[in-house]
């Protein structure tokens, strides 16, 4: 016998459980929601009328990608609050990739055409694959006080490890979770309402949002990324460590928060 989980899975019950998790999280995790709201306010400010200057044909693609990045960020919050942790990391990965693509195209506008015409011919596709290597683009990001060079790469690797790609750590974490629980309400064991995996997902979602806002700030030369944000994220994660509902944050392999 391979698996010990189960009576029947029912989609309606799974989605009901996810919705209940979301509602409960929005009540119990208000300090995290407040941090997420800071990112939304920052993004909204940067995108506000009159702040972004330049030729529309030059900033159109980066702005489009930034909006996609924001789309992934909000979806990561939405699924994260429901306790769908691997999916949350998967969406964080896309958020970072979109923002890094946007920044790279802003720095080198000729990349915009390569991005737009990716599917036109096999040659265009190869050209795209050559120019848009995400690790190369992340390595090319400038080192700044706002976003130190290693932070984006560390964060990106973390999202890959825990759900942005079918890798061992996330699959094992899921398996341990499923294996340790009896089947609940037709599949609720797929959701993580509390504990270390959720805390890690919340922390990296916030830092992913911050990374996105910093890249927006750098590409559009406005200064609206929230100050001391990484420090406050870390402080909240550490304070959650003492919460009896959580088990600590020690496994995070991302770089330590910097000091300004």
């Amino acid at each position: 016998m391979v698996n010990s989980y189960w009576d029947s899975l029912v989609l309606g019950r799974i989605l009901d459980s996810a919705d209940e998790c979301r509602r409960a999280s929005r009540q119990s995790l208000q300090r995290w929601l407040s941090l997420f709201e800071e990112i939304v306010v920052s993004h909204r400010g940067i995108m506000a009328s009159g702040l972004l200057q330049g030729y529309p044909e030059e900033v159109g693609v980066p702005v489009g990608l930034v909006r996609c990045s924001f789309d992934y960020f909000t979806a990561a919050i939405d699924v994260g609050l429901s306790g769908q942790v691997p999916a949350c990391f998967g969406l964080q990965r896309l958020c970072i990739e979109s923002a890094v693509y946007a920044y790279s195209i802003m720095r080198r506008p000729e990349l915009g055409d390569i991005w737009l015409m990716r599917n036109d011919t096999p040659e265009n596709r190869k050209s795209f694959q050559r120019e848009f290597q995400i690790t190369d683009l992340i390595d090319a990001l400038p080192d700044s006080d706002l976003l130190p060079h290693g932070d984006t790469k560390g964060l990106y690797n973390l999202t890959i490890d825990y759900g942005g790609h079918p890798n061992r750590d996330a699959a094992l974490a899921s398996a341990m979770r499923w294996g340790s629980k009896e089947r609940q309400s037709g599949g609720a064991e797929f959701l993580e309402l509390e504990g270390l995996p959720l805390l890690l997902a919340l922390k990296t979602t916030a830092l992913t949002g911050y990374c996105m806002a910093c890249l927006e700030e750098m590409m559009f030369s406005v200064a609206l990324a929230p100050h001391t944000f990484p420090e406050r994220v870390h402080a909240l994660a550490v304070s959650s460590h003492g919460d009896p509902k959580t088990y600590g944050i020690a496994v995070a392999r991302q770089s330590e928060p910097r000091t300004r």
């Binding site: 016998m1 391979v2 698996n3 029947s8 029912v10 989609l11 309606g12 799974i14 989605l15 996810a18 919705d19 979301r22 929005r26 929601l33 997420f36 709201e37 306010v41 993004h43 909204r44 995108m47 506000a48 009328s49 009159g50 702040l51 972004l52 200057q53 529309p56 159109g60 489009g64 990608l65 909006r67 996609c68 990045s69 789309d71 992934y72 909000t74 979806a75 919050i77 939405d78 699924v79 769908q84 691997p86 999916a87 998967g90 969406l91 990739e97 693509y101 991005w115 737009l116 599917n119 490890d161 942005g164 790609h165 079918p166 061992r168 699959a171 094992l172 899921s174 398996a175 797929f190």
Partner: protein
């Protein structure tokens, strides 16, 4: 001048809207909901204790990955019903990748060790990156049978184009450019209706079907729902008759 920020809601409004959309979709899209449930019943049947036989040690990692694929499928359904189309395609991509990895490890069990050792050393990481190329694994799928190579490849490419990777197809499918004398607005809608949503629903159902077909293949069982692709196509065609590009579903 670019004008975007004035139209953006707060995080509370975004989460409220997502919840409202899910609530409405579960009533309006009950036929799609029923198709998704068929996929879940199939997966659940295949995973029934005692059903899968064989060298179970070799199946541990594929089982992990299959469960992982399933969790992405559920998340794809969840985000799709909320109208978050690009994230839905991103989760579909991960669902296919997980299922295809599982299938590859069943076919070549030594790959399981490479996958499990990925983070042990730099050499192991490089070995994993060299062996685990999704394009190669897709090419290794059989020509015919429940999960033919061309079908899975085409579906995977679709998920990449529409949100599984930051490509123009995904960005342009849910956005647009408005230009006036005063400003240019490059808008990407956080929540989609109409044809983009219909497209996402169809792809989600197709991805779920491919997932259970791969489970059929790797565990040598036959529980993938018969005729599901045809029913997905019919439901999609019926939806097109009732859907405009902008959508006819009430927002709330």
């Amino acid at each position: 001048m670019i004008d975007e920020g004035s139209r953006l809601p707060t995080i509370t409004q975004i989460l409220d809207r997502a919840e409202g959309n899910r609530h409405v979709s579960r009533h309006l899209l009950s036929e799609w909901f029923s198709l998704f449930q068929e996929v879940i019943v199939s997966h659940d049947g295949i995973m029934t204790p005692g059903f899968v036989q064989g060298n179970l040690e070799n199946l541990t990692i594929p089982m992990l990955l299959v469960n992982y694929a399933f969790s992405y499928f559920i998340a794809a359904v969840d985000t799709c019903l909320s109208g978050q189309v690009s994230p839905c395609f991103a989760l579909q991509r991960l669902c296919i990748e997980s299922a295809v990895y599982a299938h590859a490890i069943v076919r070549t069990p030594e790959l399981g060790t490479v996958w499990a050792m990925r983070d042990t050393s730099d050499a192991d990481l490089q070995a994993c990156k060299a062996k685990f190329k999704i394009g190669d694994f897709l090419n290794d799928l059989p020509d015919t049978g429940p999960a033919p190579r061309a079908t899975v490849r085409s579906l995977y490419d679709r998920t990449i184009s529409y949100g599984g990777h930051p490509n123009s197809g995904g960005a342009l499918s849910v956005g647009g450019v408005d230009e006036t004398d005063e400003y240019v607005s490059v808008g990407i809608e956080l929540f989609s209706e109409g044809r983009p949503l219909l497209h996402a629903l169809e792809a989600t159902a197709d991805v779920g079907y491919v997932m259970v077909c791969l489970e059929d293949l790797m565990f040598n069982v036959h529980l993938a729902p018969a005729g599901l692709p045809e029913r997905i196509a019919m439901l999609s065609a019926a939806g097109l008759h009732n859907t405009t590009v902008g959508g006819n579903k009430p927002a709330e």
